[in-house]
Every structure is written in C-alpha cells, then in structure tokens.
Symmetry: C2
Subunit: 221 residues, 2 copies
DNA sequence: GTCTATACGGTGATAGAC
DNA sequence: GTCTATCACCGTATAGAC
C-alpha cells in the first residue's frame, strides 16, 4: 500500500503515478486469475480478492470488466511486441541474425511461460475475446509475420534456400505457435529451450548453407 | 421431432435410440453455441434455444452442464481420433505412406474447420476445461504422437533423415498445431489444403531422399 | 420425455460513507 | 481513492404438471 495519508495534497503528477501503479497491480491480478480460473471464472470479486483490495477499487479504476480485459490484453500484447522488437533491434543487422533473434525472442521466459501462454489461450478460446484480440493484436501479429518474411526474403535472394520465402515464414511461424501450444498442453517437462532448438533445426533445413552459423547463433544465447 | 404418441409403448431399445438421437442433437447444439458465443456465454438456455427445445430437456438428458460439456468434448475427441486412426489403417503399410496419411487426416475438413477448431480452443483456453481436456484427450494426444514417432523411427532406420526421429515427430506435430491456430486466428483466406502442403514441405526437408514420393502422396489426395 | 415456473446463488455495477 | 452495502440481472438446477 502506498502512503494514503499524504495523498490528498499530492501533486497531480504523483497521483497519476499511483493510479498507474494500482492499474498495473490489478492487471497483474487479472492475469493471475485468468491463468488460475479461466476467463469465465475470473470475476471482479476474484480479481479484487487476489489483489487484496475491495471490489469497488476495480470498478473505480476500470469502470467495466470489459475495459479491464481490454487493457489486460493490450498490456500482454505490448510486452510481447516490445520483446521481439527489441530483440530485432539488438541483433546484428544481418537477415540470419535477425531471423534467429526474432525466433528466440518469442520463447523468452518473460513472455513465453505457462502462465502467459495460458492467458493467451484464454483470449483465443473465447469467441468474444477473440474479436477483441483480433482488433488489438492483429496488427502486431501481421507485423511479426512481415518481419519474419522480410528476413526470409533477404535470405532467399542471397542463399540457396530450400523453400520460398513465403513458405519459410509460414513454416517458422506455425512451428512457433505449435510449440507454444506444446508448452501449455503437452508434456510438463517441455521447456522453452527445447522449443527454440526445434525451430532452429527447421531453420537449418531451410537454409542448409548457413547450418553452422545458425548453430552458433543458438548457442550464443 | 420423433413420434411421441407411440413412444409410451416403444420397446426399450427404440426408446434408447431416441434418447441417443436427442443427446446427439443437443451436443451438436452445444458445439454450435460454443463456436458462436464462446464457452462462458454458452448457457443451458442458449443450447436449448438453438436446438428448439426447452431448457428442461437439456437438464433431463445431461443432468448438469459439466456433464454436457464432458460428453461434447468426448464426442469431439472420438471423431478426431477415428479420423486419423482410419486414415492410418487405410494407408499402405509403409512408414512414409502412413506418416503422410496421419498428417493429412488431421486437416480433413470433417475434423479441421473453423467451427471445430474454435471449439477446441475454447476448451484449451479455459483453465477448468483444460483439466477436463487433459483427462479425456490426453491419451489420444499421446497416441497420435506415438504413431507419428513410430513412422519417423522406421524412416530414420531406413533413410538418410536430416534429423532424429524424436525431433522429426515433434517438428511435425508442432507445425500441425500451429497451422490449426493459423486457421482460427490467421488470415481468413488460409485453407486446409495450404496447411497440408506446408507440412508436406517440411516432410520433404526431413526426408530429402523421399522428396518425390512425398510430393506424389500429397497430390494423390 | 417434455414442458413451465421458480428457487437459489453468484456477478457486474451502483450508491454513498469515509 | 477506498470501502461496504446493496441492487438488478442472469445462469443452473429443481419441482411438478402434463
């Protein structure tokens, strides 16, 4: 709990910060509850209880449950997007390095773990939330695809790729998504590292001439 | 509506048949509603309304919503399992033919279409239903994996495979699952045929020596 | 087997004190 | 900003007539 006594005279800037803090806290609680109970059993009451505040607080900050879910999804999406975008920009400006960075980023434990994957699936699995998802995350999905495709096109031009850039990008993206599912539903022992390694093997098959580079890029991380 | 006047004196065998018919009808209605509204918005009332019967009927035949969902999931799982099992048994008794049959079967429009994929995701996305899913479908999932793996092992022994049988099976299965997701969330134009073709390209990369056979097996269908 | 009516619990959202 | 109390609604499941 922040200092509530002094709050009355706080400058509006700091008050806004506290409000942001509370919102973050409640969004975190929402994520936790969705993962634990599922979207349908995640109620304003359970969110409030898990955050150890009253239910009125949740309504005060988000007005409606719909709005809370929307901001939760937006937060997930932003975190996810920032993760692979920063990985992309931190990578060497070479198509192969960028491609590997893009793949590896989406399995980073910060955005890819059982809890968060479960929450993503909750949104995808609910017909209503899926509409919300598409409107909020559609552009990012497309952005990731196009980044992937761009690298594949660059590689296709320069290398002896074993499939077209379009096919390569689709294959890579599909396998990534399938491996996410494996983390959620598959054997409990399955880990992100193994997932990355599986996609990297696919990359080696698609770009056999760069096999060793790919191997090095995987072990570098 | 079946003949309800004569029903009183029907032999118990026929009455059981009618009951089965009604149950099927209600399960179908449940699937439709889950796809349209999502699991959480699928109520006993909406299921009954969609089937044009009273809500009491649903309770009479399934007692609880939980039980209805369980039987719905079981039906999905059975249909799905039968689909790939029969494809397996109808295929030539050669590892490659069986492998291709297994892949192709799970994209057959009878079990892989927007509606059914949406319903699967609804179950996966809900934390409670996911437990139900795991207990009902876990064995089938494992069966499919092991069938896949078996073919990959046979091929590995005889051919110059570019990856281990374990990796091959995991790659194939992941890509399949990711392509299912693409059908649900990805671009609306994406179709099963394209999905099959994508996995078959992976097979060609894994078993380069059998490239042409794989191509033929794809076009045969 | 099928219907209608209803009891009961839970959920989102409001009101108003502090 | 935060709380408690409360409302109005909706969903499941029951009861009992037909």
């Amino acid at each position: 709990m922040l200092n509530q006594v002094a709050e009355k005279n706080l400058p509006s800037r700091r008050r806004a910060l506290q409000s942001e803090f509370r919102k973050r806290q409640l969004i975190n609680s929402t994520i936790d509850c969705i993962e634990k109970f599922g979207l349908s059993q995640t109620t304003m009451a359970s969110i409030a209880k898990h955050a150890s505040v009253s239910q009125g607080i949740v309504v005060f900050h988000f007005q409606t449950k719909e709005s809370l879910l929307e901001q939760t999804l937006r937060r997930l999406s932003d975190d996810y997007g920032n993760c692979w975008k920063s990985a992309y920009h931190n990578a060497e400006t070479l198509p192969l390095a960028r491609l590997c960075a893009l793949v590896e980023a989406v399995f980073s434990p910060a955005v890819c773990n059982r809890k968060l994957v479960g929450v993503w699936y909750a949104f995808w699995g609910d017909a209503r939330s899926r509409l919300l998802y598409k409107s909020l995350c559609g552009k990012q999905d497309i952005a990731y695809s196009s980044y992937l495709l761009e690298q594949c096109q660059s590689l296709e031009a320069a290398e002896s790729a074993t499939m077209s850039a379009n096919n390569a990008a689709l294959s890579i993206e599909s396998m990534i998504n399938g491996l996410w599912q494996e983390l959620l539903i598959g054997s409990p022992g399955f880990k992100q590292k193994e997932a990355v390694s599986t996609v990297f093997k696919l990359l080696q098959l698609i770009y056999p001439d760069r096999r060793h580079e790919i191997e090095l890029l995987e072990n570098k991380s």
